[in-house]
Symmetry: D2
Subunit: 284 residues, 4 copies
Amino acid sequence: MGSPMAHNLLKAGVDLTVWNRTKTKCDPLISLGAKYKPSPEEVAASCDVTFAMLADPQSAVDVACGKHGAANGIGPGKGYVDVSTVDGDTSKLISAQINSTGALFLEAPVSGSKKPAEDGQLIFLTAGDKALYETVGSLLDIMGKSKFYLGDVGNGAAMKLVVNMIMGSMMASFSEGLLLCEKVGLDPDVLVKVVSQGAINAPMYSTKGPSMIQSLYPTAFPLKHQQKDLRLALGLAESVSQSTPIAAAANELYKVAKSHGLSDQDFSAVIEALKSKIQHSENQ
Amino acid sequence: MGSPMAHNLLKAGVDLTVWNRTKTKCDPLISLGAKYKPSPEEVAASCDVTFAMLADPQSAVDVACGKHGAANGIGPGKGYVDVSTVDGDTSKLISAQINSTGALFLEAPVSGSKKPAEDGQLIFLTAGDKALYETVGSLLDIMGKSKFYLGDVGNGAAMKLVVNMIMGSMMASFSEGLLLCEKVGLDPDVLVKVVSQGAINAPMYSTKGPSMIQSLYPTAFPLKHQQKDLRLALGLAESVSQSTPIAAAANELYKVAKSHGLSDQDFSAVIEALKSKIQHSENQ
Amino acid sequence: MGSPMAHNLLKAGVDLTVWNRTKTKCDPLISLGAKYKPSPEEVAASCDVTFAMLADPQSAVDVACGKHGAANGIGPGKGYVDVSTVDGDTSKLISAQINSTGALFLEAPVSGSKKPAEDGQLIFLTAGDKALYETVGSLLDIMGKSKFYLGDVGNGAAMKLVVNMIMGSMMASFSEGLLLCEKVGLDPDVLVKVVSQGAINAPMYSTKGPSMIQSLYPTAFPLKHQQKDLRLALGLAESVSQSTPIAAAANELYKVAKSHGLSDQDFSAVIEALKSKIQHSENQ
Amino acid sequence: MGSPMAHNLLKAGVDLTVWNRTKTKCDPLISLGAKYKPSPEEVAASCDVTFAMLADPQSAVDVACGKHGAANGIGPGKGYVDVSTVDGDTSKLISAQINSTGALFLEAPVSGSKKPAEDGQLIFLTAGDKALYETVGSLLDIMGKSKFYLGDVGNGAAMKLVVNMIMGSMMASFSEGLLLCEKVGLDPDVLVKVVSQGAINAPMYSTKGPSMIQSLYPTAFPLKHQQKDLRLALGLAESVSQSTPIAAAANELYKVAKSHGLSDQDFSAVIEALKSKIQHSENQ
């Protein structure tokens, strides 16, 4: 995800310095004019604003707070924007470390996967230092189509969980509809078309429906991540005693799909959890 | 619903004859040039194609098969298109009666409520005599934006149930998201905006979200009808042993909402089923 | 079920006349002293009280109201006790027919399967004419260990549905526990023992747990009947807008089990619906 | 819980030394012959085997591993038996600390609440050092009616979670049945009686049913603890990708009950989560 975002910044003429654990991954960007520094610390020391995009919470903490991490190079007048998707606690930990140097921190997880990243169509769910939000607004606008400022650190992560909770339930419900069509002799392709015309039309259905009908699940968002987000959202709901029976039922289906070995396929593979084990089922 | 559909036919210059149980409801159409006949029988006798739009299965049967019903006036070379939403069995009953006169029958329930009807943006889910489908295609195109031919009588009703099943689950899931936002201190209006930008954006969320946040549910599609459709869809799924745990969980919420006296409000009032009974809840 | 019940009446010295569609099934009873009549009509004509035990609603109606049915031979001063498990509507239909002859009617579905029938340990859930309930009390006591009078016809059927609804949910929950034990490395046989010692001990768990652990489901109560009862109970709940999310979730599991071809196995086979499709699952 | 257990040991003639954070709570036991020591450290130093019964994981850790905790007084040849209900991780932490002194450790959470504790009818789910299990067997038999040895530390906690998961689902299902009876005009007291006669009879139903019908929930096991155990059990199931839709649906009901302010009432108060908000509901 980080690479197409950086491309878009370069294309817009932004003065960019890059770093990656695997230096060769930076080469295409360097060939397009990006500078390179050998550690997050040196990137942060040489730039006004540092963006971090990491795959998981532990990496996000390491790059921000670890040995040669950004916190060692950053300081007053500078900003750190973490666009990784991490839980609220991790975000607060990084925020505290960055703020302790006098620098500003913005949590900015993105909604959108690879294609929107390439097209500069991401959505940023930001929270933290509002001054930094305003400073980097034009940069976010290069990489995304919209941005939201949500207040205290942790709120960006929470909003993303709520969105992904709804997404997971919708995909499970859509799967029920596709299979029900098949079982009663209706063409599921027509369901995709009918849905695409009405009040419940969501881009996700048109994008993924046709491949789901062919039992193909090319990974855009891994099923195990969708299940993890449902689990975290259920935890969030539990912490405030909010009943979420739909999300709870959906989570069970993603767990079934995981137990079927589909963790690394696209989350639309949840449809497999609703299929019968045997082909010639006896329905009485 | 029937009135705006007739308006659109008249505006397009179609030669139209109307009937309604309450004659005064026909007056606006008559003033625009429609003819009037005092019974479905006489409408069917004087027209090539008769469209029926009734509120419930019993009325649909009465108008087609009852005393002075359309079946008494119809015959070979004519067609009967029922655009009411009825169950498959009712549709088959009417179809058999119409076909027994030598006339053709098309089941054509619409997806879309009052506004799309006015704007000629309905979606027709048709099934039955394909020749009649082709005959009335241009008329359906005046009243709607798309039409699907689904094969045997009963398939139109079944497809509509599947669509409404997904719709009911989506609304329940969206309700969970809105309430979870509120409980954790996020602005639910922002959730509506974020959702509207991404892969799960559905027109329904943007239309109904803002009023749901204000606990207002102006009726476009009554909650009791949404619950009935979920129940019928669950019955359809059961008849083919298709597991639909999301729809089953959603149905329970609509039942709760009904038991709270919300049957005649919009189906978005399902959100009330997820709210705590007491204001100052004790969350431990 | 009827045969062991009749045996117990004979053993107690009751003057008994029997009939079965397949006469040979009556032979063991006849050899023990039972009389035989060639139709329900003649049984009803020659006895003070007629008991009916049929496999399904249609047979119950046929035997009571059909050609040569009991209603033709019954009349004032006689009683008809239907111990079949039928829905409330069927029960009301038979009741009306019997009452119209001047005879009394008692609906008396039994709780308990083959073994309790043999041991005279059935539970009778009766409803209808209270005078008949009192007349046949001593006979019910021979065949069962307890009897309940529940008021209007239909109430016996309804009570049985509620009991079976709870039973279906309990079995699904118990299945979750057995499989969870296995997955985390606990011995499910120990779970059966622990459960049998405490507040949640139910005879069903001790009876069926050991065979469930071996994936054996010898049929005492067919899974398809358990699923049908859940469906009817959900319908009953829906008719009064009572939310029953546990029963709804359980019903989905029985549907899955049916789609796996387990309809005719014992209802404890619902555990199969919760097993992973693949052996070496990838859990991430 | 600790006090009645200690009483039973004293009554059986066991040489007992006690400690409690609030010394006056020990007075009744001291008057019956128990010795007293002013810290867990001194209890452990002066006894062969130390039993700990604490209300929550944090207290269990404090008493075992804190300042003046048991680990400071214990050593080779001695044993530490923690009968508190804690999570597996806490149990492992305490186990490691105790074992590091050369002493043996046994995790032994109990199944059963206050009344079984008084009656010496508890069930011990033990795990850890088997030699200690054998040493204390006769003492466990004084306090309980049965004991299970489950292997590695953590397994006692896990087994208890599975049992409580089933218990929580059963109570939710039973609540559905009681309310469904009321709504359709059946006497829920009769349901309690019918259930008590058959295959699904569990002591819990007979004990709690009558008060549930009167909307009374005197606390034996607090609802918030039942909900916590469901949450932990769902977490356990998730860790091995075991689908548990019934437990997930039940958990949502306990969350609703918590949001209604019922956290400290008995877990049977979950029935309130299924009641309509308004009295004169409109059921359509």
